[in-house]
């Protein structure tokens, strides 16, 4: 479904991604784990077209994304929940969700999806008319995921959804991610520092160090891998 081939991305003279190749199959949950600054967020931003690779190909369902603007990439069916959630603080919860459906015109279906995200996260329907900035961290993460779901993406990119959240909330959010994947067949590309949680729900995983993919395997195998254990699982 998504294919990265030999992608090199630079920030000025610093190379953030070094010949990164990876693939995501339809219906999968894929995780990319690694330390701070390994290039995980850059990978997602490259897929979304916010940063441009210096060389290499990013293709979604056979279509080269290199020539597309970020908004056109969203139109192909890719939506990202970026690091730090990036809720529009002065827009209401409802308006944040409306913006998720920005490119859609099918009002009846948008309503259905709105009901769907409210069943996933009932708290959001109570907060509906509150400004996004007044929500707690966990609620903001729920809103960020819901907002992306409103785009009805076929590929959902998530950047550290567990960041700064209480373990119980993290648990809840990860359960809902598997539920979204199971119920809607939404393909999920999850970037995480919380390797244990991510590998538990993922089918396959990639490990990134200093912009290089160093390991790629089934998630269950990575959980048992000695290097992964010592470096990321703290075992």
């Amino acid at each position: 479904m998504l294919e990265l081939k030999d992608v090199n991305t630079f920030y000025g003279s610093i190379q953030a991604l070094k010949s990164v190749s990876m693939s995501v199959q339809k219906g999968e949950i894929i995780t990319l784990i690694g330390a701070n600054g390994a290039g995980k967020s850059t990978t997602l931003m490259t897929i979304s077209g916010i940063v441009r690779p210096a060389s290499g190909v990013v293709a979604f369902e056979g279509q080269d994304l290199g020539a597309l603007e970020p908004d056109q990439i969203v139109a192909t069916g890719i939506c990202q929940v970026p690091e730090g959630r990036r809720i529009f603080p002065y827009l209401t919860v409802q308006e944040n969700l409306d913006l998720g459906a920005y490119l859609r015109r099918d009002n009846a279906e948008i309503h259905k999806d709105l009901d769907y995200v409210f069943t996933l996260f009932p708290i959001l329907s109570q907060r509906r008319h509150q400004a996004g900035g007044t929500l707690s961290g966990g609620e903001q993460q729920m809103l960020a995921i819901s907002r992306a779901l409103m785009a009805r993406p076929r590929l959902l990119l998530l950047d550290e959804p567990s960041l700064g959240l209480a373990p119980l909330i993290v648990q809840q959010i990860f359960e809902i991610l598997t539920q979204i994947n199971r119920e809607n067949g939404t393909t999920i590309f999850l970037v995480e520092q919380n390797a244990y949680m991510a590998l538990r729900i993922a089918h396959r995983g990639y490990v990134m160090e200093n912009g290089v993919i160093v390991l790629a395997d089934a998630a269950s195998a990575l959980l048992e891998n000695d290097e992964v254990k010592s470096a990321y699982l703290g075992v």
């Binding site: 603007e69 970020p70 908004d71 970026p82 990036r86 529009f88 827009l91 308006e95 920005y102 992306a148």
Partner: protein, 300 residues
């Protein structure tokens, strides 16, 4: 009492014109954090366009109000085209460089447009026809208000309501607010931010042109330099209200207009501009984010 009311009406009229201009400043700042110093020139170009159209139309024997409406609409479209083009050639190329570059580009654009109009038209004041006919019933009111002021106040009110509706409830309005809060996130949701910026310039330029046309038919004369002072004042109004905030720009404009009018009426009209800038300094000391501005929180 009557004197006071007259000053208030005068102040509100001024405030209306400032508001039509300040909207452009504040909306552009809200989205790309640029003080568009050439904004006053758009207002001046609007006035000149209307003048030319009005002269042409007067040969056709139309009455004042129809000329005013047609001339305003053409001026708005023409100025909007200027605003759109200006953003594309002077601001978009430097959008990702230092803020100072865009600011210098804006000042350059301002000087360019002033001198372009001076060379293409004239450096002298030219008379602007009185397009707004006298309304007899106004004579019977206890306060002195003329028809031009009535037209200015109502037009401004209509524009404000329409704009509030646009920003609050429409799809483009939501995308404008989203882009002003977080451009990257807006892009990640499929908002074409370049288009949003263009729309912002188009709307701001059109309202500025409308202000230019209305005030010119009130004052009766224009030259290539009228945009400069009006632009600076509207900028003061926008900062006063809290730059980036639309209700703030409107409030700031009326505060500024009333201060100038009352100050000129009760103290001395020679100090009119002094009052305008004094109130700016006072507000900046007491509340740097402006009357309705949000405290600046730097994005990480």
């Amino acid at each position: 009492m009557n004197y006071f009311l007259n000053l208030v009406i005068g102040g509100l009229t001024r405030g209306s014109i400032y508001a039509l201009l300040a909207l452009g400043y504040t909306m552009v700042y809200g989205i790309i954090e640029l003080i568009n110093f050439a904004h006053g020139e758009i207002y001046m170009i609007g006035a000149f366009t209307a003048l030319i159209v009005a002269l042409a139309l007067s040969f056709l024997g139309l009455d004042g109000i129809s000329i005013l409406v047609i001339a305003s609409l053409i001026a708005m479209v023409y100025s909007a085209a200027y605003g759109f083009t200006m953003e594309k050639i002077a601001y978009k190329p430097v959008r990702n460089s230092l803020r100072l570059s865009a600011l210098i580009s804006a000042i350059g654009m301002s000087l360019f447009l002033q001198n372009y109009v001076r060379l293409a038209q004239t450096s002298n004041f030219v008379p602007f026809p009185t397009l707004i006919p006298e309304m007899q019933f106004l004579q019977t009111l206890p306060v002195r208000i003329n028809s031009a002021q009535v037209v200015i106040l109502t037009t401004t009110a209509i524009v404000m309501v329409a704009l509030t509706f646009l920003i609050k409830f429409t799809r483009i309005g939501k995308s404008m607010r989203a882009a002003s809060q977080d451009k990257t996130m807006a892009m990640l949701l499929g908002v074409n931010v370049n288009r949003v910026i263009s729309v912002t310039f188009v709307i701001g330029s059109a309202t500025a042109a409308l202000g230019g046309v209305l005030i010119s038919s009130f004052t009766g004369q224009i030259n290539f330099y009228i945009g400069f002072m009006a632009g600076i004042k509207a900028f003061v109004a926008a900062v006063l209200g809290g730059i980036g905030s639309i209700p703030g720009a409107v409030l700031g404009s009326f505060v500024l207009g009333l201060t100038e009018s009352l100050g000129a009426g009760y103290i001395s009209s020679d100090y009119e501009d002094v009052f305008a800038f004094a109130i700016l300094i006072i507000i900046l000391i007491l509340k740097p984010s402006g009357l309705l501005g949000r405290p600046e929180n730097k994005k990480v």
